[in-house]
């Protein structure tokens, strides 16, 4: 490719130091053959193709049972196909502008998106079209979507409740966990008192507390906050304690000779050094919080998505139950993803350069 050759020449005459990161990437990537390119084009159009297959499956195979409001599912399918097309177009425009990161990502994920569309088609076939999966316990996509849309006010309300409970419990737990964990990691006396508590509470799964909480707590909401906070507190305390405790002694020595006081040793050396471990603890705490909140809502608390699911089940509205399941899935994914983003940003020094992707 002439453009590439020109780049190479430029690099040689200018010294490598004069290259931008974009040019470096281009220089280091292999030249693509015609065959590679054709293969890439096929990969990229795969999700659109599979999306259309899903649409065709829905439209042309006769239904096994009555289907009200049949276009809802189609809207969603077309919505996803359109979203993918927009994503792809943006990626192509960016690539034409020389920034290939988005393109690489689309190319990497395209087969997965395609598989998702196929999965949707298969699911629809097994439920609506043939009823192989027991009806009405496993409702078809269209029912679930209709239920979600029809009951959106209630679902929204429940989502807000769940998120409120989750964040309240989680942030209290993490905050207290950070304080005890860091204090214990740094001071022996603190560890002396907290260690037994951790050893005693550690083996007990958080959900064990829920029945007790329901009897003891004056408000179930407060009780649920307590349980979620307890679980996160535990995870964060243990993680930050080990993190701070294992700080490289040489770094402390270096900081001391540079004039650090005790407090500065904690805040400027121990905590940043323990950050990977602390964030690991936060992720773990989020997992345990998500579990605890669902159990709490299913057993006692009278609001939130967990409660909604049991409520829908009691009324035999399985479509609503599944709708709530999807919403739960979505918000927990979003929460975990955002935590991951925070982690990646804070810990960028670990990898040095962020990977190109």
């Amino acid at each position: 490719m002439p453009q590439k050759e020109a780049l190479q020449n430029a690099a040689e005459s200018l010294q490598i130091g004069g290259l931008t990161r974009k040019q470096l990437q281009k220089l280091e990537s292999k030249e693509k053959t015609k065959k590679d390119k054709r293969f890439e084009a096929v990969t990229l159009s795969l999700p659109i193709l599979c999306g259309l297959i899903a649409v065709a499956e829905y439209l042309y195979i006769p239904d096994n049972r009555p289907n009200h409001d049949p276009h809802m599912y189609l809207y969603v399918l077309f919505g996803f196909i359109a979203a993918y097309v927009i994503y792809l177009v943006v990626a192509l425009i960016r690539q034409a502008g020389g920034e290939s990161a988005v393109y690489e990502k689309v190319h990497y994920k395209a087969p997965r998106y395609a598989a998702l569309f196929l999965l949707a088609a298969l699911y629809d076939y097994l439920t609506l079209k043939t009823g192989i999966l027991t009806q009405p316990f496993v409702p078809c996509m269209n029912f679930i979507i209709c239920a979600a849309v029809g009951d959106r006010m209630m679902l929204w309300d429940c989502t807000i409740h769940t998120l409120l409970l989750l964040f309240l419990g989680y942030s209290i737990g993490v905050l207290l966990g950070l304080i005890t964990g860091i204090a214990c990691g740094y001071s022996k006396r603190c560890r002396y008192w907290v260690d037994p508590v951790i050893n005693f509470l550690g083996p007990i799964p958080t959900s064990t507390w829920i029945p007790i909480m329901m009897v003891v707590a004056s408000s179930l909401f407060g009780g649920a906050v307590f349980i979620i906070a307890l679980g996160s507190w535990f995870a964060v305390t243990v993680a930050s304690m080990t993190g701070v405790h294992n700080v490289d002694k040489d770094l402390f020595d270096a900081a001391r000779t540079l004039g650090a006081k005790e407090r500065q040793l904690v805040f400027r050396v121990a905590i940043p050094h323990a950050m990977p471990s602390i964030l690991q603890g936060c992720t773990q705490a989020m997992g345990s919080s998500c579990t605890a909140i669902m159990i709490a809502e299913m057993l006692g608390v009278k609001s939130g998505l967990g409660w909604y699911m049991t409520w829908a089940k009691a009324w035999a509205s399985y479509d609503k139950m599944f709708a709530a399941l999807f919403v739960i899935c979505l918000i927990f994914t979003l929460v975990t993803k955002s935590l991951d983003l925070v982690k990646r940003h804070v810990l960028r020094w670990q990898t040095g350069v962020e990977s190109n992707g």
Partner: protein
């Protein structure tokens, strides 16, 4: 430069360490007395484990002597101070800070924000790492990291500079450059430098005094003044004579080694 004159004195200093599993103690150094003052560059040579790092850590105030006293201008050392800067055997940079922030670390600690940017700039250009100021330590080569560690300490303009084999990890060429760099700074500032090294040539080339140590327990075998006018040339007669002398004292048989 306007740094004050200092006199560093170790009088009858011993240091023992308790072993972890047994009741025994390791006597790292025993009854050491030396006096050093500003304007001197002291090289410390001796076999591995003879207590060289221990002496530096005592002077830095990281550890306290078992018996005896370490004093600076008559005042006993009871803790660390940015006035007694130390460069460690390993670079020990803070991996979560960029080069720039590592260098400025001690000024940040002391809240000296105003002069910070200028001083950091000065230090970065001293070691020629202008292009790497935004990089994190694990993106640096070993030699670059060691240079950053050196100026991170120098930014405080310490009156006593403690160097624990700061050049051990460098290749011969970079090492010689860094030796000259350190000497230039010392000549300009006339502080007291105390440097541990494994390399006898380096000790003679850089030092105004070479302390030769022996192990178990660590003590000072010889205190050899070096005439700088005669030893800047590594092949001069005086240089070779010093080298043979020191090697003999370090129990190397065959004084013609080298």
């Amino acid at each position: 430069m306007d740094n004050e004159k200092v006199v560093l004195e170790l009088s009858h200093v011993s240091k023992s360490f308790a072993k972890i599993d047994t009741d025994e103690v390791t006597q790292a150094i025993y009854d050491i007395s030396i006096t050093m003052e500003s304007g001197e560059f002291i090289s410390l040579v001796g076999p591995s484990g003879c207590g060289k790092s221990t002496i530096l850590r005592l002077v830095a105030g990281l550890i306290m002597p078992t018996t005896g006293k370490v004093t600076v201008n008559g005042q006993e050392v009871t803790g660390t101070s940015p006035d007694r800067g130390m460069v460690f055997q390993k670079p020990t940079l803070f991996p979560w800070l960029t080069v720039e922030k590592n260098i400025g670390f001690s000024l940040t600690l002391q809240g000296r924000q105003k002069e910070k940017a200028g001083r950091i700039e000065e230090m970065i250009s001293l070691i020629g790492l202008e292009k790497f100021r935004e990089d994190y330590p694990n993106q640096l080569s070993g030699g670059m990291a060691q240079r950053v560690a050196l100026v991170r300490t120098l930014i405080n303009e310490p009156n006593i500079l403690l160097l624990d084999e700061p050049l051990g990890a460098l290749d011969a060429f970079t090492r010689m450059n860094m030796q000259d760099e350190i000497i230039k700074m010392w000549e300009k500032r006339q502080h007291l430098a105390l440097m541990v090294t494994h390399d006898v040539d380096e000790a003679i080339y850089m030092g105004t005094r070479v302390l030769v140590m022996d192990s178990s327990p660590g003590r000072i075998l010889a205190d050899i003044p070096i005439d700088k006018a005669l030893t800047r040339d590594r092949s001069s007669d005086t240089f070779v004579a010093h080298r043979n002398d020191i090697l003999r004292k370090l129990h190397f048989s065959g004084s013609a080694a080298g």
